[in-house]
Symmetry: C2
Subunit: 332 residues, 2 copies
DNA sequence: ATGAAAGCGCTAACAA
DNA sequence: TTGTTAGCGCTTTCAT
């Protein structure tokens, strides 16, 4: 392994000098500088970033914890993509740790990233309770940002998407289009996003005078196949509805497939809507009415908050905006 | 910052002892062990992984370079997902560096990851020439695996998907279904995958007695919108074809949308096929005929090769398997 | 079974 | 402007 010392010897200078020309902070005589560069070339030296970061006590990594086993759809990918994008934009690297399937594993993943001395870590957890996470955030030596979750004691350390509010918007829209008999396809159990949406759904249904009805709710697990199966269940139940609201777009695509197979036209017979504003929604037939969830904005805020370059935008609560397309039809 | 020394003092032992109980390799008296654990709790000590890895000269990171600005679709996400999955499976973390949009930046990204002393790095580059990459791989102190690319001098360091062969399979299938007037939607320019597929397409067309015809090829850029626009171009050209082969599934979805809008039925009037076996292909209407590209297998091999746990499967060349669905119809 | 000390490769404060 | 030296926090001989 070629180290800085090898370069120093080769150039006939001290390590410090090599370090200086590499970092360009201090002034070094031109002639020496060239000698050093030559030595670097000759030796094929590559700085050991690990050593560098250990000395400076600073890294250029930002950690991300997601439960990757849980869900491998476009949504998850978008998370990934945006996280990487904003890290790079601020000249940092994204380092990923899997939260797997228990809260202990989620804690382990966070610990790893903190131990790696990341500049900060973003966590999109599922099993860890808000309360536990709150404590972890409080006692962490580096910034930890909770994504898609509100922390009571560390509000500034969370970027919260208000899915409850978002779903309220969607329900209002459906109602405005004449739909009050709405079925719901739920996402994975114990998912915070789903709980928030389902609560909004139930409240609105009550407001429309429809008591909670188990035949109007089918359990999915976020992916297309589960939406497809859940919709078939709904159809077989002989439930009466004019619209189906799916917990996300992927399931909505599955729903539409199931409806078509059952001989129903969308939106002529049944309207369908989802959440997330997946790109596909614009190309599917019919194009999908959905709620745009500001994932990109979420990561922008998270990364900027970690690196302390946020432009004072106050409390980070987002709810999303309606995207109206063909899949919902006005009735009566 | 609490260090191992603090713990040692608190427990009334030496640093070495603390290290020993933490690593569990050497034997430590039970009583002391407990004292150390207690001290760890009291002090709230967290090991500095950077220091640890710097001493042991070993890290638990695997690097990944992709040009993320280039393409943010399901394909890209699947890459990400599978990379992370296999890293975690072998108890390593995925660390990501963006290759951005020039070969210099790609080199920079690789250098960063090498400098971080990753166990190995996987590169999915676009601008770096095979020859340059080959040299980089040869001179690297750690394993560098080229994804989706064949390296002449370091064949064992590449996991190659033979898109040429894959496209040949697809063309044979289409021909077998009676199609010989086939239009092609190409992926991004200078993409190796696209070049390989397009070459196969042209060769087969020549074989079927169709000379290269610019009106039969439209330029896309991998995403759905580009497929949509490319197909419209094809339609406006008044080109005559019975099938459209898109360079990937996403573009195929765009193509189908364009055809429907132009009043053509798929597959009754025009057949359509793609590549990648995107999940959506099964839910789209019509379901999409495609070629399953073994991305998962690619990353499995890459990670196992880096960690030297491969089960001797010889040269890593993959080509993919046909997935036959509704979007291609037999004619005549 | 435990401690002392050297060393991993680098940066930065201090001297010269 | 350049060199010397002392760490950064950890592991790992080598003694004890």
């Amino acid at each position: 392994m070629i180290t800085m010392l090898d370069v120093a010897i080769c150039a006939g200078v001290s390590k410090a000098t090599v370090s200086r020309v590499l970092n360009g902070k201090d002034v070094v005589r031109k002639e020496i500088k060239e000698r050093v560069y030559k030595a670097i070339k000759e030796t094929g030296y590559r700085p050991n970033l690990l050593a560098q970061q250990m000395t400076t006590q600073k890294t250029s990594m930002i950690g991300l914890v997601i439960t990757n086993e849980v869900y491998n759809g476009p949504y998850f990918s978008t998370l990934f993509y945006n996280a990487a994008k904003y890290c790079e934009q601020h000249n940092h690297r994204l380092i990923f740790a899997d939260g797997k399937r228990t809260f202990e594993e989620e804690i382990y993943a966070i610990d790893f990233l903190v131990g790696m001395k990341c500049a900060g870590v973003m966590v999109y957890t599922k099993y860890l309770s808000a309360c536990k996470l709150d404590k972890i955030v409080s006692s962490s030596p580096i910034p930890i940002i909770a994504l898609n979750q509100k922390l009571e004691n560390n509000a500034e350390s969370s970027v919260f998407i208000n899915h409850y509010l978002g779903c309220l918007k969607m329900m209002d829209f459906l109602y405005g289009m004449g739909h009050s008999e709405i079925a719901y396809i739920s996402g994975k159990k114990n998912s915070r996003s789903n709980t928030a949406r389902q609560t909004a759904y139930l409240e609105k249904m009550a407001e429309y005078g429809r008591a909670a009805d188990n035949n109007m709710i089918a359990q999915g697990s976020w992916n297309m196949q589960s939406g497809y199966e859940a919709a078939k269940e709904l159809i077989n139940n002989n439930s009466v509805f004019t619209a189906i609201l799916a917990g996300n777009d992927d399931m909505a695509f599955g729903v539409i497939k199931a409806l078509k197979e059952a001989g129903k036209r969308v939106p002529e017979d049944i309207s369908v809507a989802g959440f997330d504003n997946a790109k596909m929604g614009n190309f599917f037939s019919p194009t999908l009415t959905t709620l745009d969830v500001p994932l990109e904005e979420m990561f922008r805020r998270a990364v900027e908050s970690i690196l302390d370059v946020h432009q004072d935008e106050g409390f980070s609560e987002l709810s999303g905006t309606l995207v109206i397309r063909e899949s919902v039809r006005k009735i009566n």
